[in-house]
């Protein structure tokens, strides 16, 4: 399933560095006078500090992950996407780390790669230095900063994730490590044109202008120095903030947790019709967006 062409991280970084730098804020968007204080104005980056090995990415109140079961695979798995860098197939979880998922839809087919530079999609909890990773390892281990990518949308968590097999729980997003193990250095950028509708203590929410108005959530950026505030209209590729490990006081590794949501109409596992706003697997959209970036295609 993996592709033969394996690009080194350096090559990836060089290719991505050549991409367009979009820093100019767009004009104010539709609606939205802001009545409450928005996020702090961008300030100088905080000095790099030694990254701590946390990797929890779940509140202390959250129960341990549910007992994992066998991974699932679609009955008729589609051929891999036209992505040339080394990446594991979507929806597949290593044994003992979750149930996986069957859907292979590219839910945001024109999405912009949400980081300015090269990065590595993998698991920060089960990776080196993670809370459930190999003992005695560091989050800065080179294993975490090398290909292949791996999908962790359905990685075992107690949070609801209805598309995941097993109990319908999972991680809800994709973990992406920046190019190197340094926080407050690498920009996260807007996945598509839209409006910043909310900024939480460690979350930034972007709603796409185009139907179906996908919701993108960016977690763990350097919240004290964001480049956007609530109500800002942004263009695809515009800088939002720098990847860090902010998590409201709970330790986590340096990474971007990237979520994709939308309103969907479907059927429950017991055959009932259901319409809801829920999490969609971003892995395929990310892989194709990354490939476009490698190819030099502007967002």
């Amino acid at each position: 399933m993996r592709k033969l062409l394996i690009l080194s991280p350096l090559v990836l970084a060089l290719a991505l560095a050549a991409c367009e730098d979009k820093t100019t804020p767009a004009a104010p968007g539709p609606g939205g006078e802001i009545k409450t204080p928005a996020s702090p104005e961008p300030g100088p980056p905080t000095p790099d500090d030694a990254p701590s090995d946390g990797g929890a990415e779940q509140p202390s109140s959250e129960p341990n992950p549910p007992a994992p079961g066998p991974p699932v695979l679609p009955a008729d798995p589609p051929a891999p996407s036209p992505v040339s860098f080394d990446h594991n197939p979507p929806g597949v979880m290593p044994n003992g780390q979750g149930h996986g998922y069957l859907d292979r839809t590219v839910w945001s087919p024109a999405m912009c790669w949400p980081l300015q530079d090269a990065a590595f999609a993998n698991s920060q909890v089960y990776g080196h230095g993670g809370g459930m990773g190999p003992a005695g390892t560091s989050q800065c281990d080179s294993a975490n900063y090398s290909l292949p990518w791996r999908d962790n949308f359905c990685e075992a968590r107690s949070r609801d994730n209805p598309l995941c097999a097993g109990g319908g729980t999972g991680h809800q997003g994709q973990d992406i490590r920046p190019a190197t193990c340094k926080k407050n250095q690498y920009w996260a950028v807007a996945a598509e044109k839209g409006v910043i509708t909310d900024i939480g203590s460690y979350t930034v929410t972007l709603v796409g202008s185009a139907s179906p108005h996908r919701t993108y959530r960016y977690l763990h950026m350097q919240m004290a120095a964001l480049s956007v505030k609530e109500g800002d209209a942004v263009v695809a590729g515009q800088k939002l903030g720098k990847v860090a490990n902010d998590f409201g006081g709970t330790p986590t590794t340096i990474h971007l947790h990237f979520e994709l949501r939308a309103g969907v109409a479907g059927t429950t596992t017991d055959g009932k019709p259901v319409v809801l706003h829920t999490f969609l697997p971003p892995y395929m959209s990310l892989a194709e967006a990354y490939q476009r970036k490698l190819n030099g295609t502007a967002c």
């Binding site: 839809t105 107690s158 609801d160 709970t250 479907g266 019709p273 259901v274 829920t278």
Partner: protein, 222 residues
Amino acid sequence: MRLLTGLMLGGILATGALGAALSQTRVDPATGAPIPGAAAPTATTATPTRRPGVAVLNRPPRGGQVDWRAAVGGLRQSGGGNPAPNLNQAAVDMTRVPILLPADNDLTAGARIYSFGDYYTITADAPGVGISLSGTTAVVPLPAGTPLKITPTGPEGATSQRTVDGQLISFVRYGVLYTVEVRCDAPTDPRCADDNYARGLAAKTTTVVMGAAARAAAGLGG
């Protein structure tokens, strides 16, 4: 009521299925009309499923899937006014779906609305918690082979999902998908530990507001 909501849900899903069937043709999100010559990428068994097509629920006449009659009933029950005059009126006026607000003046007093016409979201704050109230007629159909492990309850098909920082409630009213999301600053905040607070908030979203576009679509004039 149960029957009516069932019919509405059925209508949405039927439209979703139609959207899936027509997914090879792009549609104009504003009108639902096919865009000539704008064929979506062809999905084959050799490639992952691509789903740029949207099951746009607005269908003529007058907004189609929105149950305007029921929505106008809700508007009249609400008194017909806007209990949150602080909301940006231009954004309210461009919203083509009924806007739901909670009967909670403290919450709505500082709220902000962001609208894209067929989608709006209202962001509000309370101490230690952020709240989003959203409504849309644009949903995407899920492939038939990927069922959802979730249990809708009640006449409005309500679902609740625990998120990384809170709770996410969805329900269908007037043919519109509404969501209530609660995000807590502290992971131990009891308002996010379970869905009681979020469901209570959803239960309070009984005030209907319609701006110019929604009133026009409902036949009430601008």
